[in-house]
């Protein structure tokens, strides 16, 4: 078993789950089956992580099969220290999504589970792809299940939100496609990501392609001027949809910068860095202020995501080791803590069917266990020391101050805003006078919900107190990336 295709199995296992689901009728069997496949995938992801050699910067578990040889397209997958973190994150959130939709999805359960399983396969595939064409196909194919997840099982304005999400992402992705083809033609007719990284493109090609890629990734992140689809999509999506969006899809934009823009287009990255830092700073502050003004729980978290992802892109484009590792860690953190917050809000909404902050108060006295978790996730989101958010933001801020003091100051303001809106959210929801709900409409978390929340809480403390394994696993890959950037600069 020298060349056991572990990554292919990791990618396709959830999709295989679709086959038994097609023949099942009983809703509870369908749920268990979906859980079985996603959880098996999670265990597999752990196994891959255990066998991963954290000291090496090269791609591991590489598989390579020709797909369209006449155009140099192949099915090539592999992971390095960066992508393995996100495959793991995706696999972790997979079964949590299934559990989060256990009771909240009541219509077309089979179709919903199929969409989630397909989504899982595509997302893990995106993080593992070593061929640009494969990457694009998986990246774009995600639109179909995600469009359905938002549009079919979402809230009242779901259709509008789904179409908006689809068109924003599609327009960006198509420009990305043009950029990919330009790289293909300029880089010796290959879609192989590693060979393209080695090509030294001319500055004008780099700049053009950077701009084309920027649109696609900026929409996905989402960065400042093109973030408007996110609040709509988040508010209307079902809980599992929000978790996937916040936890994984937003990471893909930043991952795109990390995997393509920075190593393949180093000169252009340096050239556009002021623009990127500027947009990130605006996103941090503007997103923070918008979050401050929200009265809807999900909208508040959505805008806080814009602000937090601003930290990530800021970290990526300050080009020093601290900031880069902070950015990657922050991507992972944001997946955990924002995913957790959406899960927590979903649990609340399942019970009371309202997301207005003003409808809540004094939850601490009614549902104490829930409130502890909610408080923990809020603290992680505002980067309280001891939680994962602190480590990530600290690293990014240290890098930002190194680059430009004013940018650092703006980022600190953003971090302070996060404390303001998260604390005031926690205050009005958990503390204060008790709002009485009708009998039986609110109850504390059950076992199923507890497992999900606990799993996420473990990671919050783990990274917050002992981030070394996480930083260690990505360090060689980031070192290589810095080398590539340095050559260009």
């Amino acid at each position: 078993m020298m060349n056991f295709p572990s990554l292919s199995l990791l990618i396709f296992l959830p999709a295989f789950g679709v086959i038994p689901l097609l023949f099942l009728k009983n809703a509870s069997v369908i749920r268990w089956m979906a859980l079985l496949f996603t959880f098996a995938d999670f265990l597999l992801a752990i196994a891959v992580l255990m066998r991963f050699d954290a000291t090496s910067a090269s791609m591991q578990f590489v598989e390579h099969v020709d797909w369209v040889p006449s155009l140099g397209i192949s099915y090539a997958v592999g992971v390095d220290g960066i992508s393995i973190l996100f495959t793991f994150l995706t696999a972790l959130l997979g079964w949590i999504c299934i559990l989060a939709s256990w009771n909240s999805i009541v219509v077309k359960i089979k179709e919903f589970m199929i969409c989630i399983l397909v989504m899982q396969s595509l997302m893990i595939g995106v993080f593992c792809a070593l061929d640009l064409f494969l990457f694009y196909v998986l990246w774009e194919a995600m639109l179909i299940p995600m469009y359905l997840i938002i549009g079919v099982w979402g809230g009242p304005r779901r259709v509008y939100a789904a179409v908006k999400f689809f068109l924003y992402t599609l327009a960006g992705s198509l420009l990305f496609l043009v950029g990919i083809i330009v790289l293909y033609q300029e880089g010796g007719q290959t879609f192989d990501i590693l060979s393209l990284m080695a090509v030294d493109f001319s500055l004008s090609v780099q700049n053009w392609v950077f701009l084309l890629f920027l649109v696609a990734f900026a929409v996905k992140v989402p960065m400042f001027p093109v973030h408007t689809w996110l609040p709509d999509a988040h508010v209307e999506a079902p809980t599992a949809g929000s978790i996937i969006l916040a936890g994984v899809l937003l990471k893909m934009g930043a991952y795109g910068f990390l995997r393509f823009s920075l190593p393949m287009l180093p000169d252009a990255s340096h050239y556009f860095a002021p623009l990127m830092i500027g947009l990130s700073t605006v996103a941090i502050v503007y997103g923070g202020f918008l979050a401050l003004a929200q009265s809807d729980l999900k909208k508040l978290i959505a805008y806080s995501s814009v602000s937090h992802m601003g930290f990530v892109t800021l970290g990526l484009f300050t080009f020093n080791e601290n900031a880069l590792s902070g950015a990657v860690l922050q991507m992972f953190n944001h997946g955990i803590s924002t995913g957790a917050l959406f899960l927590a809000i979903g649990l609340l909404y399942e019970r009371t069917h309202t997301r207005q902050i003003s409808d809540y108060g004094g939850l601490m006295k009614i549902v104490p266990l829930y409130t502890i978790y909610f408080g923990l996730f809020s603290f992680a989101s505002m980067a309280v020391p001891g939680t994962n958010g602190f480590i990530g933001e600290l690293l990014i801020l240290s890098g930002a101050f190194g680059a430009n003091v004013w940018v650092g100051v703006a980022a600190v303001i953003g971090a302070m805003l996060a404390a303001v809106y998260m604390l005031s959210l926690f205050k009005s929801v958990a503390l204060g006078p008790i709002v009485t709900f009708e009998e039986g409409t609110i109850w504390d978390i059950g076992q199923r919900e507890g497992v999900c929340l606990l799993a996420l809480a473990v990671f919050i403390f783990w990274i917050g107190l002992y981030p070394k394994p996480f930083l260690g696993i990505m360090a060689p890959a980031l070192g290589q990336l810095l080398g590539q950037l340095g050559q260009g600069g």
Binding site: I144, G151, L175
Partner: protein
């Protein structure tokens, strides 16, 4: 003429001869009263097509130029013949049920389809302007009648009348362009024309005029702006299977002669026509994409969608390289599958009454018929160009060819317009999946229609996942002029 050459010519053109003789026999046979006329006609015409296809397949290893270099059998022509014959078979399979519901089961309908197919096959094999024009007219005249085949329906009559008048005018314009080019070069044979044009001095006004006339004539056939006006009305009025055939077969044949005339004979003049075609392509994509947004009738929407697709396919023609030609061919093959698939769904959904062909009638389909809805979703996403469907690969390869030639800005415009176009496809998905049904569905199912849906569904998904073999076929199918020297066979 040498006897041997005559026999060789007849063998090389035997698929076309079989189609035409078969059509005549079918016409005679359908006169006799028969118990199940519809099935008999379907089976017989399919057999004729299969025989012609089989013989065409035998010719694949012997590319040749016959009838005094006016008719070629090269991989390029055979690829297009395969597309056209596939389209004709799917049209016939789709027709049975439809004709019965319209109460127009008649032999002439099938005869005309066979004749139109033969006309297209002659077009794609034509190496001489006269042969090309003859095929074009045979095809066009058959379609004029087919479009008006729902005789008792006013819309169908209107469509036929519009198509005849506009078609005749455009044929006239095209013919005038041909006559000018003949006057300037002294030949109608494409190979000789290329030689004359490549040695001639600076192009004068007459050449520009001739090119404009020819481009305009062909723009009508592919439904490109500014000659697109007929498309929505004709698509709406024509019997639905004929609409599908028109949008795929007729367009494929027109693209074949566009590629052959301009890229084989007129390459020396490329700098004149490239700018014109770029303008046409962008205008066509833009108009098709934007106007389709506001359509409420699915056939009209598909008409504008087919205009937009024609604009996109023109991009491969603009690239003009070997991969450009191959990309157009692959695009048309894939378009055949996905477009026929969607038209088969339109026929499936067709019911009597006022709400006929309305996009709204797809509301809630996924709740009642999840399988049909899923199939429709695949066709729609393929037309929108979302991977992993074949429609994505078709667009991808055209963009690849286009960027290879340095047209990056054009590629950016094209993808942004196809993002606009995506909206009207996903709107139908939205209606099917995200709304509750308004009325009960009455599907007009039949086993032959199911077969069409299965074939097109497999094609749409299959080529998307494993495009390699199809891609190689398209890449291998070059013009005869580029593979063997046409002057080896002397008339």
């Amino acid at each position: 003429m040498d006897k041997q050459l005559i026999i060789q010519s007849i063998i090389a053109s035997s698929p076309e001869i079989i189609m035409i003789v078969g059509a005549c026999l079918l016409l005679l046979g359908s006169v006799f009263p028969m118990h199940r006329l519809g099935s008999w006609l379907t089976v017989t015409s399919l057999v004729i097509i299969l025989v012609a296809a089989f013989i065409a397949l035998l010719l694949i290893d012997s590319p040749q130029s016959v009838y005094g270099d006016s008719f070629v059998v090269d991989p390029f022509a055979l690829f297009f013949k395969a597309v056209i014959l596939l389209a004709a078979s799917l049209t016939i399979l789709m027709s049975g049920q439809y004709l019965e519901s319209e109460n127009i089961v008649e032999g002439e309908y099938y005869v005309l389809i066979l004749l139109a197919t033969a006309g297209m096959m002659i077009m794609v094999s034509g190496q001489d302007l006269l042969v090309i024009y003859m095929g074009l007219e045979l095809q066009a005249l058959s379609f004029y009648v087919l479009v008006g085949y729902r005789r008792r329906v006013l819309q169908s009559n209107e469509a036929a009348l519009k198509y005849v008048i506009l078609g005749a005018v455009s044929s006239g314009i095209f013919l005038y362009g041909l006559s000018l080019i003949y006057g300037l070069t002294g030949t109608t044979q494409l190979g000789q024309m290329a030689t004359v044009l490549s040695t001639s001095t600076t192009p004068d006004l007459m050449i520009v005029l001739a090119i404009i006339f020819m481009v305009v004539g062909l723009a009508f056939k592919v439904g490109a702006v500014p000659m697109h006006m007929w498309v929505p009305d004709v698509y709406e009025g024509a019997p639905t299977p004929i609409t599908a055939f028109l949008s795929v077969g007729s367009k494929a044949a027109a693209f074949a002669i566009l590629l052959r005339i301009f890229l084989e004979a007129m390459t020396p003049l490329a700098e004149i026509w490239t700018d014109i075609v770029i303008l046409i392509a962008v205008a066509t994509m833009a108009l098709g994409s934007f106007v389709a947004l506001v359509q409420t009738n699915i056939k009209r929407m598909l008409a504008y969608s087919s205009i937009a697709h024609a604009g996109f396919a023109l991009l491969g023609f603009i690239a003009g390289s070997e991969s450009g030609i191959a990309s157009v061919m692959l695009y048309l093959l894939i378009y055949t599958f996905m477009n026929f698939g969607l038209f088969a769904v339109v026929i499936l959904m067709q019911k009597e009454g006022a709400g006929r062909d309305q996009i709204d009638s797809y509301t809630g389909l996924a709740t009642v018929h999840p399988r049909w809805a899923l199939l429709t979703l695949i066709f729609l996403f393929s037309l929108a160009g979302i991977p992993p469907t074949a429609g994505f690969f078709a667009k991808f390869y055209i963009l690849l060819a286009l960027i290879e030639q340095g047209y990056v800005i054009l590629a950016v415009i094209a993808v942004l317009l196809s993002a606009v176009a995506a909206y009207f496809y996903i709107r139908i998905v939205m209606l099917m999946y995200m709304k509750e049904p308004l009325h009960p569905f009455s599907l007009s199912r039949s086993s032959s229609l199911n077969l069409v849906l299965v074939i097109t569904g497999i094609g749409t998904v299959g080529i998307g996942l494993a495009p390699d073999w199809f891609l190689e076929q398209a890449q291998r199918a070059l013009f005869l002029g580029q593979t063997i020297n046409s002057s080896t066979i002397i008339p």
